[in-house]
């Protein structure tokens, strides 16, 4: 009797919690395994890119070198050979910029206005138009590759920068329009009515009322488009033409160029350089990305 009463704990305030519960332990271990799974290849790539060829040949793949050098990075950027040219991957970087910039701007500009029209200025067949758009965003790209080759050739722009920009813009439109339409539909209708009573027209409502409220969705659209277009290989190799090959295509050419020795350190450096743009985009705007996606999700 007395040993039970000796140390009575009277419940009061927050209930004491165990330091770690089984559920927590499971969650954390799964998360750690996942993180390791994705980080390990990056680790191998970084340490390999800092080794010289001897270090790669005779060293252990998992062990970093004692004498790191940026020689491989230098070569990847400026001197690596893509087929006949040996200017490194830098020209590809600029090509990718020239392709991504206009494609992102044009596709978002067109899609946001289209989405706004569909959401707020319904016209006779707007619902049908929207359905067609929705369905078309699920058609596999490969079906349209050859017809687009013919179309761009007919337009006289095949194998040029405008061709690949046009193709990226067109393929970005359905999903972006869907994104913008749903976002604009989720904005209060009364705001639109109030602006109309105030005398604002189509463009003024878009630019002065809706666009300032839509930073999250514009951020989402920029991230989707930049990463999507930067990572693209197929459209670049088909429509851009050899002088305008984007970074991804150049990378492939560097990695697959055979001239005696396989320079793993240069390949790794070039790959990291190619991936750095989308990576940093996610890194710096991840917060806004999540916020934008969540904003769309909550409001329907």
């Amino acid at each position: 009797m007395s040993n039970i009463v000796s140390n009575p704990i009277i419940p009061s305030g927050p209930k004491p919690k165990k330091f770690i519960t089984t559920e927590r332990a499971v969650v954390y271990s799964v998360l750690c395994i996942c993180a390791a799974f994705f980080l390990f290849p990056l680790y191998i790539m970084v340490i390999t890119s800092l080794k010289d060829l001897d270090g790669i040949r005779y060293g252990n793949i998992f062990v970093p070198t004692l004498h790191p050098s940026l020689g491989a990075w230098n070569k990847a950027l400026f001197h690596a050979c893509t087929g006949l040219y040996c200017q490194g991957i830098l020209p590809g970087f600029w090509n990718s910029c020239k392709i991504t910039g206009p494609s992102v701007i044009v596709s978002i500009a067109v899609a946001s206005v289209t989405g706004y029209s569909l959401a707020n200025w319904p016209f006779k067949f707007s619902e049908g138009f929207f359905t067609v758009l929705l369905v078309s965003s699920f058609i596999p790209y490969v079906v349209m590759l050859y017809p687009l080759v013919l179309i761009t050739r007919w337009l006289g722009i095949y194998s040029t920068l405008p061709a690949v920009i046009l193709v990226h813009t067109i393929f970005g439109l359905p999903i972006l329009t869907l994104l913008f339409r749903n976002y604009f539909s989720s904005l209060p209708q009364e705001l639109f009515k109030a602006a109309r009573v105030d005398g604002a027209g189509y463009w003024r409502i878009f630019f002065q009322v809706f666009a300032p409220m839509s930073i999250p969705i514009f951020t989402v659209a920029v991230i989707l488009q930049v990463t999507g277009i930067w990572n693209d290989f197929l459209f670049g190799v088909i429509y851009a033409g050899p002088t305008n090959y984007p970074m991804t295509v150049q990378l492939n050419n560097i990695v697959n160029s055979m001239e005696g020795v396989k320079e793993y350190n240069v390949d790794m450096a070039a790959t990291i350089l190619t991936g750095i743009v989308p990576l940093s985009i996610y890194f710096f705007s991840g917060k806004y990305f999540v916020r934008g996606i969540a904003a769309g999700a909550v409001k329907g």
Binding site: P188, K193, A195, G199
Partner: protein, 372 residues
């Protein structure tokens, strides 16, 4: 187009044969309405009765399927909302979130290209009236609900419009603020003297604010009259039930006696209704509903309960409300509520006498629901 409405000068808004339908669903049915200059008209009804649709048609935010809208004698049926001389206040305030209070209020003026000095003057005047001066540089996010709604009113005020349209402006506010802002709107109307059309489902707002109330149901106006007429002489059972809180008692009864000395029979007992001002007569013996508001019934105790025309009832439940007390009684098999002074203490199970004030009662045909 057709002839403009008669006496157009004194009319602020008039509506001719306005109909709105979505496919087979008729939201408004051939509606006619004349609103004199400076009147405060309340459109009252449950959700889905077409009151907001009517308001949106007047504002020009919805195109009617049929009919015309005149504002200040001018046919504005095809005009843009901004060209109609209306200002509108919405339930959700609909303030532009990225703009300050000042820019919210001046947006419409800037759109119309007014010069800066005049804009400044108008915003200043409106913010004085609505006591918004200290808040001019704030964003809507930093305002309370009541302040936001005042800004929304200010946005209509600066534009110097003929007609104010309110679409359930107080429904998003809590009870205390609603009562405060209700008074402010009434004060504003007295000060400005503009025509105001106000949509609500809240009968207290309707009663307190309106010069006239239009009670709506199913796309038609059931009764259009001043608040006291609506309250004391509802035209049918629907209007009677919608207005008044706690709501009117409807007691099932039959019409008896003769045409000259009619009586109402409630659970076997007769009530002389020859004092009642009949609006129409139903055949003797037909089923009616005897409508009596809780404040129009007397409770008698002691020896008075045996007097003529006094019904026997049992107290079932007592709801004290502070200012007065609501007593629920069983009269035969029917339940009725009576409002008594809070000093009167009733106990459940107590037998009391019930005396109806026939002059203030309303009789309805049980089948058609029309007032007798």
């Amino acid at each position: 187009m057709s002839v403009s409405p008669t006496a157009a000068k004194s009319l602020s808004v008039s509506i001719r044969g306005l109909a709105q339908s979505y496919g087979a669903l008729q939201v408004l049915k051939e509606l006619d309405l004349d609103i004199p200059d400076g009147e405060f008209l309340v459109l009252l009804g449950p959700s889905g009765c077409g009151k907001s649709t009517l308001l949106n048609c007047i504002a020009g935010l919805l195109e009617p399927t049929n009919g015309q809208v005149f504002i200040k004698g001018k046919n504005v049926t095809w005009e843009e909302p901004s060209k109609r001389g209306i200002g509108m206040v919405f339930q959700s305030y609909a303030l532009y979130p990225q703009m300050t209070v000042e820019r919210n209020m001046s947006f419409g003026l800037r759109v119309s290209g007014m010069n800066k000095v005049e804009i400044e003057q108008r915003v200043k005047r409106a913010s004085e009236i609505l006591q918004l001066e200290p808040l001019l540089q704030r964003k809507p996010m930093q305002l309370s609900g009541g302040q936001r709604q005042r800004v929304a009113i200010g946005r209509a005020l600066v534009r110097d419009v003929d007609v104010f349209l309110f679409d359930e402006p107080l429904s998003n506010l809590d009870a205390k603020l609603r009562a405060e802002l209700r008074v402010e709107i009434k004060r504003l109307h007295q000060r400005l003297g503009n025509t105001m059309i106000y949509v609500t489902h809240d009968q207290i707002e309707a009663m307190t604010l309106a010069d006239r109330i239009a009670v709506m149901k199913g796309g038609t106006i059931q009764q259009l009259a001043d608040p006291m007429t609506i309250y004391s002489k509802p035209i049918n059972r629907y209007v009677a039930g919608f207005i008044g809180s706690p709501s009117m008692n409807f007691i099932k009864a039959t019409l008896g006696g003769t045409i000259k000395a009619p009586t109402v029979e409630v659970s076997g007992q007769k009530l002389d209704v020859s004092d009642y001002a009949f609006a129409g007569m139903a055949p003797i013996g037909s089923a009616i509903e005897f409508g009596a508001r809780p404040e129009h019934i007397n409770i008698l105790r002691g020896k008075d309960t045996k007097a003529k025309g006094v019904f026997d009832a049992v107290v079932e439940l007592v709801e004290p409300m502070g200012s007065d007390t609501l007593v629920w009684l069983e009269l035969g098999k029917q339940k009725i509520s009576i409002r008594v002074e809070s000093s009167q203490i009733m106990r459940p199970g107590e037998h009391v006498g019930v005396q109806f004030r026939v002059k203030q009662a309303s009789l309805f045909d049980a089948q058609s629901g029309e007032r007798l």
